[in-house]
Symmetry: D2
């Protein structure tokens, strides 16, 4: 299912080398002011161009095809598209029979019986995160004044700026790629987002986060560190009647529900799958192993472009949960 959300519902479509990529947003409240240039800031943060990012340059101009009228959302579905222009598919015809290690080439071929669009990863391409970012911009409007901030805190083991820069340069030099860790903090959350069990806040957020290509892990608050803690260390002392805590090992969530403290989570991002260094794979025609070099345009570190995508996906989940919470609010008022 290429859709997420119960009330604020986003559906992704398109392929890397196809006509367009896009997002259909259903359930957005009417009357929200939005202009196409408001998408620019976040789309620019996702864009390539910086050191360590791909040379494929797309204008990434969002075309709002429906759901907007006189500068405001209408309550009808919002279709946002990006045209694919800077496309070079030649290499992919060559690579067709030699699935790239670390990519979805092999599974896509098997799952879709060879009918998948294999050019540039097709529908699996990281390029589809542009529509994700666009949907995030709409979602951020809905959850104002909640503030989401994601940043890269580690690249290939280095945690300071100089070290990170060096790691990237080394990767570029060696035809390699490097992974990283992003930390996301959200402030201004109300108490009560999420449900016990299957729609716990962590359930819904991790569901969305793992839709971002390349993410291999997520942890909340103390995260994996909790395995080395005692109960008395981990439990957050409650300070006030509205639930503020002294520490924040819970990461802002108890029992699957936001507790009003800062939401903190981290995600691990794998090294870019495409590297120019030679790797081994199988040639599907001969059935024999063969060397492969991915010559196209690729990022040395996709983590560099991922923070704004993590923010977008978080905003999408929060928009949905905020609306669900509004129902509870109004029911309370009635009583």
């Amino acid at each position: 299912m290429n859709t997420i959300g119960r009330l604020f519902r986003t559906s992704i479509f398109g392929e890397s080398h196809g006509n367009v990529i896009g997002m259909l947003i259903d359930g957005c409240p009417a009357g929200i002011k939005i202009s196409e240039n408001e998408f620019t800031v976040d789309l620019d943060r996702r864009k390539s161009g910086a050191n360590g990012t791909t040379a494929r340059k797309e204008a990434d101009v969002p075309l709002v095809k429906s759901g907007l009228f006189k500068g405001k959302t209408t309550g009808a579905p919002i279709c946002i598209m990006f045209e694919n222009k800077n496309v070079d598919s030649a290499q992919y015809e060559r690579l067709k029979d030699t699935p790239r290690p670390g990519h979805a080439d092999m599974v896509a071929m098997q799952k879709f019986c060879g009918s998948n669009d294999y050019r540039g990863g097709g529908h699996f391409s990281g390029r589809l995160t542009a529509p994700l970012v666009a949907a995030g911009v709409v979602a951020k409007k809905i959850i104002t004044p909640i503030k989401i901030e994601a940043k890269l805190i580690e690249i290939h083991g280095s945690k300071n700026e100089d070290g990170m820069e060096k790691e990237i340069n080394n990767a570029i030099r060696d035809g390699e790629s490097v992974g990283g860790i992003i930390e996301c903090r959200v402030n201004g959350l109300p108490v009560g987002l999420g449900e016990p069990f299957f729609d716990s806040f962590e359930s819904l957020l991790s569901h969305a986060i793992f839709s971002i290509p390349g993410i291999k892990g997520i942890e909340f608050g103390a995260g994996f560190g909790c395995a080395e803690m005692l109960g008395s260390e981990f439990n957050d002392e409650i300070l006030t009647a509205n639930g503020k805590t002294k520490t924040n090992n819970a990461g802002g969530i108890n029992g699957g529900i936001t507790n009003g403290n800062e939401l903190v989570f981290r995600v691990a991002i794998r090294p870019t799958a495409s590297i120019s260094k030679e790797q081994k794979t199988i040639n599907l025609k001969t059935g024999k192993q063969t060397g492969i070099k991915i010559e196209g345009r690729h990022d040395a570190c996709i983590a560099l472009r991922t923070p704004v995508i993590v923010e977008a996906v978080t905003a999408i989940v929060l928009a949905d949960l905020k609306m669900l919470n509004d129902i509870a609010l109004i029911e309370r008022v009635r009583k």
Copy 2:
């Protein structure tokens, strides 16, 4: 929403100190042989009794109230219930105004405006994992011969059996609790489970896993370790035409889709929230901080009882995905 799954749908209900806890399973294929005593093995693995687990002993006899006829599933919804018998609610009336640190008491009260059943955590209780395990037993039948095995690989930093035992004994001695890490491995998976983007295998599995109380992180394959790897180290070399790889840093998943290799993931489990050691919290009536000791019956390490729950939840997700995959299969056959 207390329901998970698109085709194999499980809905959880009940409270720790209420009448019953239970699970409603909808979408289970007809004709699956199952008897109430087949639930015993897994329920026993979840049960308390071992060193470091709670003294609250429930018979945990699953009562199948519907959907079973002549020893087989009928295709109609299966309602499985457990009666709560060994209930002692006295303490909870006392604790009502002093929310326990690390528990859902505070958020539940705020989210449900004080109407929540606060006895023993109510609907948030870990006791509801018994129905989860029961649903897992049904799910495991559907996904035969896929094999799921979860085990505890670390407690409070110790990774061997003696060390783990010692950590638990220390915790019991000190009125403390300890966290741990569980690793789950699944073998026999077909290629093709999961979808690109929002229903990636990791999305669906993490969604389900985070419904288990106390889980603070999940990672697949190399997991957070990927942040310290180079692309050439991380990418799994493809060995055969059906996708077997030399290493398994991907954990059995590419592009959100199972690749036929072993599925490997790990989860971090926080120390039990209830500890007898004094902690500080707020007294909601006086608005002042106060000391609190949780005297009830609690586990020193919930991670001890969690492996079978991780297996159950994994089975539930796999049952759903296997059915979805069957559709693709039959469509292929037709062509």
Copy 3:
């Protein structure tokens, strides 16, 4: 899928001659006062006992197994069950190989490959409308002060009380059954329930209504009569700025959305499938046609017991839509 609703979600389970029948309600707001005896009025309206209804008498005492605490809903799932006691399955073993005409026997056997519970129609039984009525009672609380009134306006062609009575008596005398038409009117609806296209008010309501066994048609406002009208006759003249109309051919809905006028719809209910008169069917063992007489206890006219079920199902849909509408409301307030 045995579940309906996006926010107020009801899931039905159980079999006619099984252990229990029941309903799981998820998404009910916390804090709603409800006692088990409040179910009595509506359950009594559904009950058998009157002239023309079945002799199977069940106490129909609703057992609320979860989600209720200190007389109020807690926000957790509400499980309501009814025990089956007055069960006589002997006849059904005999009828097993001769599917009853007009019943689901044949399709159930084929769909579930013979694993279905065939006793008394199993999960297909009209007996499962008791949980529907119970869920309706909860839903009616949520939508207060909206008023739903369904009544029987026609039996076997007769539209007045004497005629209807006569039709029923004739049917009883002849071992026959008769159909009827129920009209439902809802007052106090806000403008704005329903969505354009797939979740039009008529879409959602008819979806729910056709889950009631035996319904063969539904029409809104002028209904099928619209096919004989001119545009100028059909269009409802708008009288006031809040949308009150002179006539109500639209039945209270425009473009799939409630317009604030009275909601009016009618449903057609087939004659009870079980009749004592001999009918012809196939003997599945011999492959030959054979005569069949349904000797059990059955209603001469199920339409007699259906109005309260139509109300319940309508209330369930309205509860869901009212909550969805509340979100829109609160968004408006914020602007």
Copy 4:
């Protein structure tokens, strides 16, 4: 929610006078051959041009923006768009404050607080049935060789061709519009589509059918006529071991599940809301009643263009149910 379906999921978007109208199809199996010109036959049947249909002529060229590669579906979402070109919005600025009787103008304004796109009915426009028809073309491919045939059987009370023609001519002459009845027959259905209760076949089909603008009623088999029948007349005698019946009052469905006989249902379509004859409405600015003449381009009888839409919507539901049924099939094979 502008989406329908569990497995074959279609999402509609766009506005009458906006940039585009379109459909996003998710869950379509990979490998289905389809070309843009295969849409032509059905789109032509929906097109205006014939006597009694609107003068607004749109080329209605479907643009497949994603999900198609080398002439086959890829398994990724299929986005089909139609550009709006022949747009004349001038009149709608004039009509803005005088909601048209029988239209959604009034409810749209209230529901969306005045932010709705009011030009030509915006997202409520019958023009959005073009994407519905396109989705139907894809769905029909999936359900081959099932055959769906809908036809107009009554216009303004006339049931023969000459009479119907005359009714339309009269309506045109008088600046009026007329309603009609469409009958749809489906052959080749397998036994077993649909579920007991909430996903009964009638529930799912009526849900979809009522998303077509202008439909006021639906009935299956004997339909409303069942209210005048005896049980012995209504019940369909079973003739063979695979469930063929002598009569078909059930319309091909028992207990909410297809029984392998012909599916038969009828829908009532209201007279076109737009008529040139003067009508009364309210002027929202003055608060006073006023006369209104709808001068645009409109159909005298929308029912003329609706049969192919009824077929499309039926195909969409059947595609979804066929896939669901495939799961059951494969489970059977395994046993």
